[in-house]
């Protein structure tokens, strides 16, 4: 008994779009690099949800497999990202994105 049979695909589309946008909002809204990072994760998850929805609607497993790769990438990105954050923090003692704007013009 799958939700996709009852709930129209559009709603999932809508839901993931909203989540995605909230992610974007987060990126725009906050200055803390870590929160921004989390918002990006949120965006990725929105995409995941969309993929899963599609895959089960099309009853095609490729979509879900793709989600695995996204997860892998997300994990990798987070690992590297946080490492970089740590490095920056080590030098600036801050995780504020606005601290770093020496490079401009």
């Amino acid at each position: 008994m799958s939700a996709i049979e009852i709930v129209p695909l559009n709603w999932y589309l809508l839901l993931s779009t909203v989540l995605f946008t909230i992610g974007v909002l987060g990126v725009l809204f906050r200055r803390n690099a870590i929160i921004i990072f989390m918002s990006v994760e949120l965006m990725l998850n929105a995409v995941n949800l969309l993929l899963v929805a599609f895959s089960s609607y099309l009853s095609d497993s490729k979509g879900q497999v793709f989600v695995f790769f996204i997860m892998a990438v997300a994990a990798a990105e987070v690992a590297v990202g946080l490492a970089i954050l740590m490095m920056v923090y080590r030098n600036t003692k801050s995780s504020d994105i606005n601290i770093l704007n020496k490079l401009k013009w």
Binding site: L9, L13, F20, G23, V24, V27, A33, I36, F37, V40, M43, L44, A46, V47, L50, L51, A53, F54, S55, Y57, L58, D60, K62, G63, F66, F69, I70, V73, A76, E77, V80, G81, A83, I84, L85, M87, V88, R90, N91, T92, I97, L100, N101, K102, L103, K104
Partner: protein, 457 residues
């Protein structure tokens, strides 16, 4: 495929070098490996059948770009041995660069969104790291940081696009998508177009096309010069190959959705890139902007979706990469010698190091697109391609832009020959000499006999 396998194994071996401690031999070994890869890669020519589970295909396009990338990589290694000497974590650098190369190989040969995605990510992630590889240098940190955040953000859109396209077509495979487009003439669901646009945005970010270019100047300036060179040449080439593979081929059926946007992007990129470069004091940043501008030229070829565009982009990428490697190498030498990368640190180079100045002049002329250098033909092919598809307006813009381009490239030439500077000559190490001579010869040779690259396709 062979190239991919070789490269990944080469990367693993370099990692092992840490353990079995043959770091000393690593540098020549890697050069050897690259050479071997290059040779092996050529064997894939005309083996168009071998698609690996429809994931990647080694067609002429792929082989062509791979070989170009490998050549550039080889030159790049010649340029940046210092990068592998002074640092503590040598093997990591080797590994990252080589894996990045593996990523590029995937990007030029993918036939499936999954591979595209993975390729881009492998490349990007290693770039994030390498950009930040000067751990105590704030600029390096900043560039890595900016690159990372904006890159990740852009990836989100790319993925959203992929997802939508999957939703519409039920597949990640380029061939199938193409078939879907042709079969569903007119009944293609709207989300597919949305997907195409979102992917366009994602890729536009990777090739640093305006208005998604903002990361490029800062990141280029902050990153260590060698890494900047890597980004400006290899990364850009690979990104454009990926771009072309997807849009000039798979999405060629739905040009109406994206052509105008690319038109505007190209125009913006050309103007912003060139105009902003004019007033830069830091040569490195200036080159960063110029590389943005060059992306604009290559977008022209993408715009003209015709038989010429592939070879045009390939030639342009080659000419431009060779030129950039040359310039960055000299910039590297100057920066290490003079301590800063301002334009006036080139003053009097014409007197102190005439040969260096000469080569710099040649490559700058090539970047400015003046015959008989490779850069001229590169621009020529691009313009012809765009012209043939009837994009006269953008070609005119491009011409104006390239005139502005001449403006800032010649600032360096004038500085070298006209301004008075310190007269003591800078000593150039052998590997750099080899590299520079090779670059100069290649630039002139490609300028005089551009035919053999064109005939590849």
């Amino acid at each position: 495929m062979k190239a991919l396998i070789l490269l990944s194994s080469l990367g693993v071996i370099t990692l092992l070098a840490e353990i079995f401690s043959f770091k000393k031999l690593l540098y020549p070994f890697v050069l050897l490996g690259l050479a071997a890869t290059f040779v092996v890669n050529l064997f894939d020519w005309n083996l168009t059948q071998n698609t690996f589970f429809g994931m990647m295909q080694y067609d002429h396009f792929a082989v062509g770009f791979t070989s170009v990338i490998l050549i550039i990589a080889f030159l790049w290694f010649l340029m940046s041995d210092s990068f592998f000497r002074e640092e503590t974590s040598v093997t990591d650098h080797f590994a990252l660069v080589i894996f990045a190369l593996a990523g590029t190989v995937i990007m030029v040969s993918y036939t499936n969104m999954t591979m595209l995605f993975l390729g881009i990510e492998i490349l990007s992630i290693s770039m994030y790291i390498l950009a930040g590889s000067k751990k105590d240098d704030l600029n390096s940190n900043e560039s890595a940081f900016k690159y990372l955040i904006m890159g990740a953000f852009a990836t989100g859109f790319l993925l959203f696009g992929i997802a939508l396209i999957y939703g519409a077509t039920g597949s990640f495979d380029l061939a199938e998508i193409k078939i879907f487009i042709t079969s569903h003439e007119g009944t293609v669901p709207a989300i597919f177009y949305a997907g195409v646009l979102l992917m366009l945005i994602g890729l536009a970010f990777k090739v640093s096309a305006a208005p998604f270019h903002f990361w490029a100047p800062d990141v280029y300036q902050g990153a260590p010069t060698v890494i900047t060179a890597f980004m400006a040449t290899i990364v850009k080439t690979a990104a454009f190959a990926a771009f072309l593979r997807l849009f000039a081929n798979t999405f060629a059926g739905v040009t109406d959705t994206w052509i105008n946007i690319v038109w505007v992007m190209a125009a913006l990129t050309l103007l912003v890139g060139n105009i902003t470069a004019v007033m830069q004091t830091s040569t490195k940043r200036m080159l960063a902007y110029s590389s943005v501008a060059h992306a604009g030229y290559m977008l022209l070829a993408l715009l003209a979706v015709n038989n010429l565009s592939t070879s045009a982009v390939l030639f342009y990428a080659t000419a431009y990469s060779i030129g950039s490697i040359g310039t960055f190498c000299i910039l590297h030498i100057i920066t290490t010698a003079k301590g800063n990368d301002n334009v006036d640190s080139f003053n009097g180079l014409g007197k102190s190091n005439p040969k260096l100045a000469l080569i710099m002049t040649i490559v700058l002329l090539s970047l400015a697109g003046i015959p008989p250098t490779a850069g001229f033909f590169a621009k020529y092919f691009i313009f012809t391609a765009a012209f043939q598809s009837g994009f006269t307006g953008i070609v005119l813009i491009a011409i104006i832009a390239s005139l502005i381009g001449v403006y800032y490239y010649f600032r360096i030439i004038i500085a070298m020959y006209f301004k008075e500077g310190s007269d003591e000559a800078i000593t150039v190490q052998t590997s750099h000499k080899i590299l520079l001579i090779a670059v100069a010869i290649a630039t002139i040779a490609l300028g005089l006999f551009p035919d053999f690259i064109i005939r590849m396709f």
